[in-house]
Symmetry: C2
Subunit: 269 residues, 2 copies
């Protein structure tokens, strides 16, 4: 069960902002047993985004999530890009329009102002590719959009983090949990002083061979000459398979080997 | 002149860390006039990384940078992936081996220990694809690697941020500056209260049409119902073309239109 994430936004490609959406989605998908296979960041351009979507579909992930580009401005082009990638027409969707209208009416009531005008930018947020479904946005105006394709469920989420996270939690997390059949992700880190990455490498190799389901990766943290290393252990599995026990076995084995090589375990988390 | 960035690392795909390398590289490439066209994040797997490199090469960017996977451990597979993508053999490179050896010797001198052993993990860092060049790493042991391909310069950088940044500044920034011919990137943001993104959209459209070289994008920051918006203006160009003046003209025009629509400019940066 895997997922590709496509983040749309020039602000990412000029380095204006950190891609916190990709990290948030990766973390939350991983936690419920869905592996993120690739993250792609593209510009707010229809041809760029459509190509990235087409290429990802050829890799046949079970899930694809796009973030960004659902808003009312002219540079919000993700739905146009999806339509192009799928070779479908864009049209005003009655259910989506109703969602936009209800949000605007609620807002008008809050402000105590009068009736809501469905301006062109508001209608744009309800203009989605044919044969796709709008998905409720608990926070903002623009609905998310879901397309069930040939073996891939594609969901377009807004780029505003609070909206993206709320839709994920309401709609996508349950879908992922069901798809992964109760898999979960377990991880643990130990922090080690006084051992070089090149000395550590063969020890990790031994422990990964003895514990084939545990993935171990070292992350050098100190300056060279003063080696400080994070060693990250992870495993995916169902609770009944005792994944935490399997993880702990690998941690204990590697810790022992490190201490024999005069490395020092300074902490764990 | 454009750049594709490929970040290699499972830690990114499980959401363990934020992709600060992609942001840093994007910001610094943009600043010297090189446009980042795409960022791709893949796992520490040879087939995954090789595919991403092959696909990027087909899009013919002038530059491609990979980050991560140059270290001594078994899951550092970027050079093997590049060799596979280019259909080249891997071999110990004499110049790269000399670089690794010199680093280790300097380190041994610092620690006052004896002679340096070229262990297998150390030799691995000097094992690079044929017809590529090792690039000096001012901070760490693993050399970066440069391949001049058919119209694309590919550079493999380490994933440790301090090493990646030092190699970029020493070797890549001058290359980019020369390639862009003195282009630079100018940006400005204004922060606006009291205007909905859907009201703002047509105003931005007018100003972008009147100022075709300026790119304007709105970023909703507040909660819906309490609109607070960042509006980001950017332009790329040579100093002689007065890009800052062109940028300021667009800022002034849009600010005026926003105030006429009863929005309020609260600050600028």
């Amino acid at each position: 069960m895997n997922l590709e994430i496509i983040c749309v936004g020039n602000e990412l490609l000029i380095g204006k902002i950190l891609n916190t959406n990709a990290q948030w989605l990766s973390k939350h998908a991983t936690a419920v047993g869905i592996a993120v296979k690739r993250v792609t960041v593209v510009a707010d351009e229809v041809e760029e985004t459509a190509s990235a979507i087409r290429e990802a579909l050829q890799r046949k992930p079970q899930f694809m999530i796009t973030t960004g580009g659902l808003g009312p401005t002219l540079d919000d082009k993700t739905l146009e890009s999806i339509a192009k990638a799928l070779n479908r027409k864009l049209g005003v969707n009655a259910k989506a329009l109703q969602m936009v209208k209800e949000k605007q009416e609620a807002r008008a009531r809050e402000r105590g102002t009068g009736k809501v005008e469905l301006t062109q930018p508001r209608i744009k947020m309800a203009t989605i590719p044919e044969k796709t479904e709008p998905v409720h946005n608990p926070v903002g105006t623009a609905p998310a959009v879901r397309a069930d394709l040939n073996g891939t469920i594609l969901i377009a989420l807004p780029g505003v983090p609070s909206e993206m996270e709320a839709i994920f939690e309401e709609t996508i997390a349950p879908l992922f949990e069901q798809a992964s059949g109760g898999d979960a992700f377990y991880e643990k880190s130990i922090y080690v002083d006084g051992i070089m990455e090149s000395t550590l490498a063969p020890l990790i190799d031994i422990v990964m061979q003895d514990n084939p389901r545990v993935y171990i990766k070292s992350h050098p943290k100190g300056k060279e000459g003063k080696p400080h290393m994070e060693i990250h252990f992870s495993i995916k599995g169902k609770e009944a398979e005792n994944p935490e026990e399997k993880l702990q076995k690998a941690v204990v084995q590697l810790s022992g080997l490190i201490e024999k090589s005069s490395g020092k375990i300074v902490s764990s988390a």
